[in-house]
Symmetry: C2
Subunit: 767 residues, 2 copies
C-alpha cells in the first residue's frame, strides 16, 4: 500500500490530465489538437458532440484499474454504464496503445492523436457513445439500465475474471439496475467477480439523482441490504483522488467471503471545468457540465476564449512532445500489453467461443408412425435433449429463466443440474445449489442482461420465457439487435453465439391465467429488426422443436425466437420428416391434403393453429368431401418473405408451389394476423391470404372458448375455407353457417360445464 | 392498542377462516359449497384454477386494513400486487357486501355464495386474476412489477388517501418494483401516503425468493437505505397474526416525518394447508402451496379426501348458517359501507374525473402566413400551452418524464411549476421543490406506473419521452391496453382520461446520440392493440401539435401516441388550417401540389418526412416541371386503415380522393415502413404504395447522412417519384440517377465537413 500512496500520484495525475485533455479535445476540436496555435473558430468541430460530465470520473476509474491490474496481474473487463462518456474511454484506449493495435491509423503520435480526436462523433468515425467499434467494449450504454446485469453475465463461469462495472447515478435510477444489485445471490464459486463502482457525481441531465438524495448512511445501508460490502470513496475536493480510489480497489481485490465489495465513488461532475461559463452559468460540479461544455464556442468569442483557457489548463505541452507523442511516464501507466483493459479477450467473445457439443436429436426424437396418433409435450421432449447438452457442456451453456422452468416442462434439466442460488435459506427447497446451469429469477430484465453478457464473452445460452412476458425486454432486444448489427460491420469482431428465446406457455394455452398472459406481440417486435438479425420459428410439435433448437444453438450473431407448446398435444412428423420440414421452413403436408389440385390452401403456423387446421380438414372431409384442400405448415415464419427482403425467404417458385398463383389461402397463425401480412409484403397476390390469429380477445376461459373468441376454432377455419374456396361461393355459405352454429353449440357446453366438451378435447387426428 | 389486542383476535380469526374457506372453495368447488354433503367428484370444478399460496396472507392484510379503517376512518385504496391471489380479494369483497352492491346476484347468502364460488375462474365468470371486473381494483397483477409505482400514482395529489400496497416477494425481484421503492423521494406534502406491505412468504413458483435469501438485518438495512422506516412483522407460527399486524398498521398510521413506514410481513405460504399432500409432497409453507392445492382431486380419491379434510378444517358450519348467510360477528368486521375497501371511489376514477380546463390553442398557435416561411420548435410552442394548462389545473394534471423535459424543449413548464423532489441536496439545482407538476426520474417504468395510477384514479397526465426509449414500457402498455379494453366491457366503470405519450427527440434528429437513440418501433407496438384503444398521431408542425394534444387531453380511455419534433423546423399550417387538417386526419396539401390531376402522390407522415417531401417537390419543380404531383400529409396514422378495421379509418371515397384509384404513391414515413403497410391492409391497390422509412440504419452522423443511409432524403423521394410516376417510366430513370448523384455529392460534403452543407440546412420552402 505504501508504494501506492508515496510514488504514483503525480504520474497518475498527469495521466489523467492527458486523458481529460484528449476527451475535451475530442468533443470540441477538429484541428490544432496540441494547441500549438491560438484557438480559432476554424479549429472547432461545427457540431460539438459528447458528454463531458462523466469523463473525468471514468478516467479516474480507468487509471485506478490500470494500477490494480499492473500490481496484481488481474485480468479485467470494464463495463462502462455511462456509454456517453466515450471520449474518456477512447483517450485511455489510445494512451494504452490498444487503439493503434486495432487500427494502424491511431498511432501513438500526433497523426494518431489527430485521427482519434477528429474521428470522434464525426460522420463515418466513432459514434458519440461506446459501441462495438470500440475495443474492449461489450456494452453500449446508450439506453441506460443494463450495465450491471451485463457485467454479471460476463462473469459467470469465468472464475479468473474480474468485471469492473461503472454504474452512473443516473442509470442507477432505472429498474433493471435496481434489480441487478441483487445479482451476487445468483453467483457461485465457479464464477468470476463483479466489482460495481457507483459513479455518484450527483446529477443526471438536469436534476440531482435519487442517489444524490441519499445520505452516506442510507447508501451504506442500501448496499449492505443488497448483500454488498460498500466502500465509500469521496474524492470531491481532493488533489489526490487516485490514492483513496487505489486503496479501495486494492482492498476490494483482497476481499473474500460472502459479502462482495462494491465502491461508491463520490466525485465532482465535469471536474476540471471552470466554475461558470462566460455567461455566469455554473459548470463544474453541476448538471450544466453534463454534455458539451462550451456549445456555442464557434459563434461566441467569449465561449471560445473560455474553451481555450479550459483546454490549456491541462497544459498539453507538458504531456505530449511536439510530435504529439505522449511523454514516457504516461506510457508507463497502463499495464503490460496483454493485460490492458482494451485487449481483454472476453470483449471479443467470438474468439473464445467454441461450438457447443450438441447432442444428436435422433436419440431424443419421438417415433411418430402416423401423424397425430400420439400426444406429447414438445418442451418436455426438448428438456431431455437440453439435459444431455448440459451434461456435455458443463461450463459454457446456461439457461436463464424467470422462475418458470418446471412450469414450462423443462424440468428434466434439474435432474442433471441445479438452480444456482447462493443464499442459504432455512425452508424447504428443491434443486438449489451454489453452482448450476439454471438461473431463475423473477426478472426478465436480469435474465436478458445476464444472457447478453454471457453470450458476448463467448458462451452459449437459452432464455425460456412465458410468451406474453418476454415483451418486458423489448427495449433490451432493440439495443442488442443494434449491437449485433454494428458488430457485424466491424471486421475484427468475430461471431458470437445467437441469443435464443424459447417462448412457451403461449397465449392460446394461457386460458387459465387469463388475458394478461396472452400476448404474442414479440413476433411483431422481431419483424422490425434487420433481416440479418432476426429469426422467428413456430415448430408445431416435439420433433420440429428439437430440430429447430439444434439449428438455433449452432447459429451465430442472430436473435432466434422459437415459439413452442408445452401442453400434451398431437405429434405430426417423424424425426426424418421433421428434419426435412425444418430445412424447408414451410412445406405442403401431403398426408393432410387431398390429392391433385386444390380449391383452397389451409396454411398454419404454430402449435395450436396447426391442431385447429388439421381438425378443420377433418370437418371438411366430412362436410364437404368434394372440397380439395392443401395444407401448408410454416415453421420458419420468414420463409414467407420475398427472398430480396429476407435471406430465409423462399423462392418465388417454392412460394407458388405452396400457395398457388391465385388460390385463396386461409392462414391460421399463432400471433397477431398483422405479422403474417407484414412478412408477406412484396409477394404477389397477398389479398388472397385470409389470416386468422389472436385478435386481442381474451379472459380466463376454456381453450376452445379462447379460440372461438378470436375466430380461430377449427369451425371458423373450415367455414372460412368453404366460403373462400374456388368454385364454392354458392354452396359454401350454408356450410359455413352450419359450422359456426356447431362452434356456438360447443361453446355453450364449455360455458355450462367449465371445460371443453369431449368432441374437442378427445379429438385425435390420424391419417 | 389494548382494545385491539384484547377483544378482536377471535372474531378476526373467524373472519379470516371464512375468507380462506371461500377462497379454497372458489378454486375447487362448483357445488356443495357449504359441505353439507360428503365431498364427491361431481362437486369439483373440472379445471381447478387459482393461486392459493398468497391468499391467506392477502386476507390477513385485508382484515388488518379493515380494522385500521374502522378505527380511524381512513379512506384506503388497496393495490394487490399478487393479482393471482384474486380468490382472497373476492372473498373479502363478498363478506363486506361490496360484491352484492355491484352485482345483485352476489347476495350475502347461500345463493350469492354459490354464484361467487362458481363464477370464479369459470368461462364467462371472474378471471383467475384480479381485473377491472372486480370492484376496488385498479391493478391487475397478472404481469408482476408495477403494483408499487401504481400505488404512488394513485396517491399523488390526494392527501387524504392512504394507498396500501401488497408487494409479493416474487414481484419484489422485478426491476420496476426495485426502482419503485425510491418513490417517496418524489412525493410531497400535497400527496397521499403509500403504505407498502412486502408479503414475504419465501417462495415464488418453484424457488425461494431473493428476499427470502436476505437476513432480517439486510431487509431492514435495504429499506432504510431506500428511505423507509421498515416494520418487521413475523407471523409465522403464531395463533394470532392479527394483533402484531394491527400494531404495525396502527403504528404506521400514526407515523409522521420524512421516513415513511413500510411493513415487511413474514408469513407462511399457503397457511392452513396440510403439511403434505397424500403423496407426501410438502405443501404448507413451501412453494408447492403456490397454486391449486389439490389439482388431481377429481381423479384421485386420496386427493379428494385430503381436499375435503382441508376444506372442513375451516368448519364452514360455524361461519355460515344453513342458508349460507355469514354469522353476524363476521359481518361486523368490515368498516362502515362508505369506507369499505371495495367501495373506495378512487378505484373507479372515471367517476372522479373532471374535464381538464384546457386552454384554447389559439393564443399559443403560431401565425403562419405562408407555408414554410418561418421556423419554430413544435414542442417549445406546446410547452407554452402546457404551462398555461398547469396554471389552470394545479391539482389534476401531471407530467411524468425521464429527466428530459428541458432537453425536449418543454422547459416553459418550469416557469410555472417545479420538479417535485423531496430530498434536500447540498449542490446546485434548478426548479426543484417538494411540490410541483413535473416529476423527472430516469426510469420509464416509474413514469408509466405513476401515470397509470394517477389516471385510473381520475386525473390527467402526459408522458413526454425520447422516442427510442419508450419501448422500455412496451409490456406495461400491453397490460394497460388490456386493462382499458376490459374496463370498457364493465358497465359500472366510467371512462378515465387517456394515457398520452409525447414522443420527441425522435430518431431522425438523434443523429448526434447515435444508433441506440434511433428506434420508432413503438408505433408498430401500438398497432397490435385493439382499434378501440390505440391512436397514433404525427403532427408535422407546431400548430398541428397543439391541435393534436388538445384533442388527446380531452379524450378518454385511449392510449394516444403523439410523435413530434423538438428542433426548429418549418411551420406549414396556420391555426385554422391546422385545425381543419387535424380533424381530417389526412388531407391533400393543395398549396404544395401541382394543379389538376396528378401523375404521382407524395405522401408524408411525421416532421422530418414532411420536410423532405416538401423539399422533394421543389427539386421536382426544377428538374421535372411537367410532373404533376399531389402532396398528402397524414397526421392521424389510423385514418389510413379501412373504416371497418379502425374507427378513424377514412371512407373509401376520401381515401380515393387523397390517393387516387391507381396512382403510384411515394410515402415518406417517420417510422418503420411496415407500420404503413400494416395500416393500409385491407385497402384496395396497396401494391402502389412505396414506403420510405427507417431501415434500421444508423450511427452518429449528420441529419442528412442519416436520411441518406435510410433512403429518405428529398433526393431519394424525388427519384422514386419520377421513376414511379404515371407516364414517366421512360424519362424518369435518368433524372433519378441525377438526383441520387446529387445526394451522394452532398453526402460527401457532410462527411468532409462534419456538418450538412448549406444546400440542405439553409433550405426553405415557400409557396
Amino acid at each position: 500500500m505504501s508504494v501506492v500512496t508515496r510514488i504514483e500520484p503525480e504520474i497518475l495525475r498527469r495521466y489523467r490530465r492527458a486523458c481529460d485533455y484528449l476527451a475535451g479535445a475530442m468533443i470540441h476540436l477538429k484541428d490544432n489538437f496540441l494547441l500549438t496555435e491560438p484557438l480559432r473558430p476554424e479549429h472547432l468541430k461545427p457540431r460539438p458532440l459528447g458528454h463531458w460530465g462523466t469523463c473525468p470520473g471514468l478516467t479516474l476509474v480507468y487509471a485506478g484499474l490500470n494500477r490494480l491490474v499492473s500490481k496484481t496481474g488481474q485480468r479485467t473487463l470494464l463495463i462502462t454504464g455511462p456509454g456517453h462518456g466515450a471520449p474518456a474511454i477512447h483517450a485511455n484506449l489510445w494512451l494504452e496503445g490498444t487503439h493503434a493495435e486495432y487500427d494502424p491509423a491511431l498511432t501513438l503520435d500526433g497523426h494518431g492523436m489527430a485521427e482519434l480526436i477528429k474521428r470522434f462523433s464525426w460522420p463515418g468515425g466513432f459514434p458519440s457513445h461506446l459501441s462495438p467499434e470500440v475495443p474492449g467494449v461489450i456494452h453500449e450504454g446508450g439506453e441506460l439500465g443494463y450495465a450491471l446485469a451485463t457485467a454479471f453475465g460476463a462473469a459467470f463461469d469465468d472464475p479468473r475474471l474480474l468485471v469492473a462495472c461503472v454504474v452512473g447515478d443516473g442509470e442507477a435510477e432505472t429498474g433493471p439496475t435496481a434489480a441487478a444489485w441483487h445479482s451476487p445471490k445468483f453467483t457461485g464459486p465457479g464464477d468470476g467477480r463483479v466489482l460495481p463502482i457507483l459513479h455518484l457525481n450527483g446529477y443526471k441531465i438536469a436534476s440531482p439523482t435519487i442517489y444524490e438524495g441519499m445520505s452516506d448512511d442510507e447508501l451504506v445501508a442500501y448496499f449492505i441490504g443488497c448483500g454488498w460490502t460498500p466502500l465509500l470513496v469521496d474524492v470531491r475536493g481532493t488533489d489526490d483522488p487516485d490514492t483513496p480510489l487505489a486503496e479501495a480497489l486494492t482492498s476490494a481485490h483482497g476481499m473474500t467471503g460472502k459479502r462482495p465489495p462494491m465502491i461508491v465513488l463520490r466525485g465532482t461532475k465535469g471536474l476540471g471545468l471552470p466554475a461558470t461559463d462566460p455567461g455566469g452559468t455554473p459548470l463544474e460540479g453541476t448538471f450544466h457540465a453534463h454534455q458539451v461544455p462550451f456549445p456555442d464556442a464557434l459563434g461566441d468569442p467569449d465561449e471560445l476564449a473560455a474553451l481555450e483557457r479550459w483546454l490549456r489548463s491541462y497544459r498539453p505541452e507538458e504531456l505530449f512532445d511536439a510530435d504529439g507523442v505522449p511523454q514516457a511516464d504516461l506510457l508507463a501507466v497502463p499495464p503490460a500489453p496483454e493485460l490492458r483493459l482494451g485487449r481483454v479477450p472476453q470483449a471479443n467473445g467470438g474468439n473464445l467461443r467454441r461450438e457447443l457439443p450438441l447432442p444428436e436429436v435422433g436419440k431424443f426424437a419421438l417415433a411418430v408412425d402416423r401423424p397425430g396418433d400420439r400426444d406429447a409435450s414438445a418442451t418436455e421432449v426438448l428438456g431431455g435433449w437440453l439435459a444431455e447438452l448440459v451434461r456435455r457442456a458443463p461450463r459454457t451453456f446456461r439457461v436463464f429463466c424467470p422462475d418458470e422452468l418446471e412450469s414450462n416442462k423443462l424440468g428434466a434439466l434439474l435432474e442433471v443440474t441445479r438452480r444456482q442460488f447462493e443464499p442459504e435459506v432455512p425452508g424447504y427447497t428443491e434443486h438449489l445449489g451454489t453452482q448450476g446451469r439454471v438461473t431463475e429469477v423473477l426478472s426478465e430484465h436480469l435474465c436478458q442482461g445476464w444472457l447478453q453478457g454471457y453470450l458476448l464473452t463467448g458462451r452459449h445460452g437459452l432464455f425460456p420465457c412465458y410468451e406474453a412476458f418476454v415483451s418486458i425486454v423489448d427495449s433490451m432486444v432493440n439495443q442488442y439487435a443494434k449491437f449485433l448489427k454494428m458488430s457485424g460491420e466491424v471486421d475484427w469482431r468475430t461471431p458470437v453465439a445467437s441469443l435464443n428465446y424459447l417462448l412457451t406457455s403461449d397465449g392460446w394455452r394461457q386460458e387459465h391465467n387469463g388475458y394478461s398472459h396472452q400476448g404474442p406481440g414479440f413476433i411483431n417486435q422481431m419483424l422490425t429488426k434487420k433481416a440479418t438479425t432476426a429469426r422467428v420459428y413456430l415448430p408445431p410439435d416435439a420433433n420440429t422443436l428439437l430440430e429447430t433448437m439444434h439449428h438455433c444453438l449452432s447459429s451465430t450473431d442472430l436473435i432466434n425466437v422459437v415459439v413452442a407448446g408445452k401442453q400434451d398435444g398431437p405429434q405430426w412428423l417423424s424425426p426424418d420428416e421433421a428434419r426435412a420440414h425444418c430445412r424447408a421452413g414451410a412445406a405442403i403436408w401431403p398426408w393432410a391434403s387431398t390429392s391433385g389440385p386444390a380449391d383452397v390452401v389451409l396454411a398454419c403456423a404454430g402449435t395450436t393453429p396447426t391442431v385447429e387446421t388439421l381438425a378443420a380438414t377433418r370437418l371438411l372431409a366430412d362436410l364437404a368431401p368434394d372440397l380439395r384442400v392443401r395444407v401448408v405448415n410454416v415453421v420458419d415464419l420468414l420463409t414467407l418473405s420475398p427472398p430480396d427482403r429476407h435471406p430465409h425467404g423462399m423462392s418465388a417458385e417454392a412460394f407458388t408451389e405452396c400457395f398457388g398463383e391465385d388460390l385463396p389461402v386461409v392462414f391460421a397463425f399463432h400471433g397477431y394476423p398483422s405479422a403474417v401480412h407484414e412478412v408477406l409484403h412484396g409477394r404477389p397476390g397477398v389479398h388472397r391470404f385470409h389470416v386468422h390469429g389472436y385478435l386481442e380477445e381474451g379472459t380466463t376461459t376454456t381453450p376452445f372458448a379462447l379460440l372461438a373468441d378470436n375466430r380461430m376454432t377449427r369451425h371458423d377455419l373450415a367455414a372460412d375455407a368453404v366460403t373462400r374456396a374456388r368454385g364454392w361461393s354458392s354452396t359454401g355459405g350454408d356450410l359455413a353457417g352450419d359450422l359456426r352454429r356447431r362452434r356456438d353449440a360447443l361453446l355453450t357446453l364449455s360455458y355450462r360445464d367449465g371445460e371443453d366438451p369431449a368432441e374437442i378435447t378427445g379429438w385425435r387426428w390420424a391419417r
